[in-house]
Symmetry: none
Subunit: 219 residues, 4 copies
């Protein structure tokens, strides 16, 4: 508790340890869900002792809140970049959904655990907050599109939530097994994307060419 002689070197080391713990937790959740991510296992994966975890996080719940928050922040940043980018609202929505879905398919278990798996109340609350953050991105896009006359008037809260729910189900639900060919994954992504775009009221969804996708969507 007393800050005696905390050199920059030590500071760095501590930050590195903290990150290692977060990474370890994330890895384990992705591998086997929260159920498998016990403190002891996280510590082992991080190359630390279980006691050490409590130097960096006050409890298991707070650790996983941080893991979740960190994981989601990256996604949000990417979505925000797309939403703030060039193009019509329709184009940006299309890209955003596609990017979101595509990235989620890469680490399905992490997405699964954090989107769907309940945990302690604290973690659960964080999960809800994260879903809201995702929804907000889409909500902003919807508002813009409606203002621009691209989409019909609608309950943007509901539509945003529906978008998040739609791809979540399509990804973690029964039709989304982990072992799929790239091609079939592509088709799934496109299907979900088109579903969402149609849902907001675009009668003829655009289908970006590969080139368009490459240049605009990083995810």
């Amino acid at each position: 508790m007393r800050n005696y002689k905390r050199s920059p070197l030590m500071e760095e080391r501590l930050a590195a340890n903290r990150q290692r713990i977060l990474d370890a937790a994330r890895t384990l959740v992705a591998r086997g869900g929260l159920r498998e991510a016990q403190i002891g296992a996280v510590a082992a994966e991080a190359g630390l002792s279980s006691g050490a975890i409590y130097r960096y996080f006050p409890s298991k719940a707070e650790l996983f809140v941080d893991v979740l928050t960190e994981a989601v922040r990256q996604e949000i940043e990417i979505l925000d970049a797309i939403a703030a980018g060039p193009g019509t609202a329709t184009q940006r929505l299309t890209l955003a959904v596609e990017s979101f879905v595509r990235r989620a398919l890469r680490g399905p278990n992490l997405a699964y655990a954090f989107i769907a798996e309940p945990a302690e109340a604290e973690v659960d609350a964080a999960r809800i907050r994260c879903r809201m953050m995702f929804g907000d991105v889409f909500k902003r896009l919807l508002k813009e599109g409606i203002a621009a006359g691209e989409f019909p008037a609608q309950n943007v809260d509901a539509s945003a939530a529906c978008i998040v729910g739609a791809y979540t189900e399509a990804l973690v639900g029964p039709i989304a097994p982990a072992t799929r060919s790239t091609r079939s994954q592509d088709r799934l992504i496109e299907s979900v994307r088109d579903f969402c775009v149609r849902a907001v009221g675009v009668s003829a969804p655009i289908t970006p060419t590969a080139r368009t996708r490459k240049s605009a969507a990083k995810g």
Copy 2:
């Protein structure tokens, strides 16, 4: 030896107990997720001892499989009735989604359990089966609508999953707190319904009047 006292009265009492256990489990899951629904808590909620639970269900896992199955069977029946009823595919899809959403907003929020923790393998398997059952109803409707020229060609598996996911999220997600006015609930229901109908490619979703609704949709 002789069935001295296997009276209809007792028979009734047993059935009532079984139902009380199922209801208690359902209530607890709705309240705090599977995590909070321990055998002891379920027993207390049902007004029985924990040992008694095992007279009616061989294990915790099987109890919750039954809870899920029972809850879902009711919904599926109603959805099936609507899907098999009169009207265009568009009309029936509209009604089905609306009915589904409306019912879920009532009563304990069991929908939550559908995306809940993978818990024991047995429960998880049941969860997946249930989601697929829901999806199948919508899938059939979609196929009919496409055949009838009402909806554009699309990946019906993905679209069905998206519909299930969309309303699930809208119900259990951040925008669906239990304490809302009837009016705002109605608006939410209509928003989700319209989202889904648009999503399958109907450019101008119908908005059934209250009278139409009353006469056709029971949920």
Copy 3:
């Protein structure tokens, strides 16, 4: 508790029930050991309810004490008859051991459970008493044989216990699997018999012919 109108018919019926319970318990112990012989299982096997067991026996422990005692009494009677019968001490010891071993091999699991398997303290105490009863038969024979000059002087308590222990091990121990040919069982019986007879000091054990055996040993 009050003896109101206990007809002879009822009396008979109660005795029959009691015996059925004892038989059921014995059967179950023989089948799977005390571990498998729960009150509920005994009741089912006896065609009664578990509550009924407590009309006839005050507790599980006392039931099994009775089962044990009854099972052992039969054996003791047979052994006593042999011991009190004709022939030299050596001949009678030979027959007694052989009879004992032979009968035990018929229901190996019952013998096993009651000779070897510990249980509640009460049952355990009864088990000890039974072993002593067996030992006493041999002890008497030993004393007679020593008095007659057939056996050398020895600690008859120890020798009697050793005889009981010797065949117990040979029967329930690793070399006594249940599935054996009659012939190999016969050889085992003879080996144990000869071991015991030699052990008490008979230098050249007799080997009774089949005829001798048939006529003298009932077991």
Copy 4:
């Protein structure tokens, strides 16, 4: 990461704890059989928490397998040394039995566990193995004695089992209470020893003097 504190001191402490657990289990089994030796009781006897047991042993069954194995290994080593030592087969058999019996009479009455309840399958299997190991020592001695013409031809499997059974009964049976004078213990030991030696066919068992015993038998 770095093994900061894996000091020899801690290493020692862990080994001591492990041994304390084994000793505690052994004590409890000797006192009241496997039935009384629950994890909680073992932990208390060892001065640890029940959770700590699982740091040293993966399950209750494996703990007791280890208890049995450890107890038996010591005995087998001593018996083997005697069997491989100098002297005629008769002399060595005499010493082996005596040593075995003598040691069993000391210390906690673990011999009991050798005929104890089939408990978990794992423990049971270990129990059978241990009995066979004891039997094998005697079997080898018997074979040598027969080859040397000291003992008559006989079923060495049965005889070996009988020897193990004889002293087991004499030790754990009704005639062997723990509270006896040294003198009466000595007499019991000699009686059992002579019984076994006679049993394998030695007509005039030797009775080693105290001096012979001291010099040859350590147990």
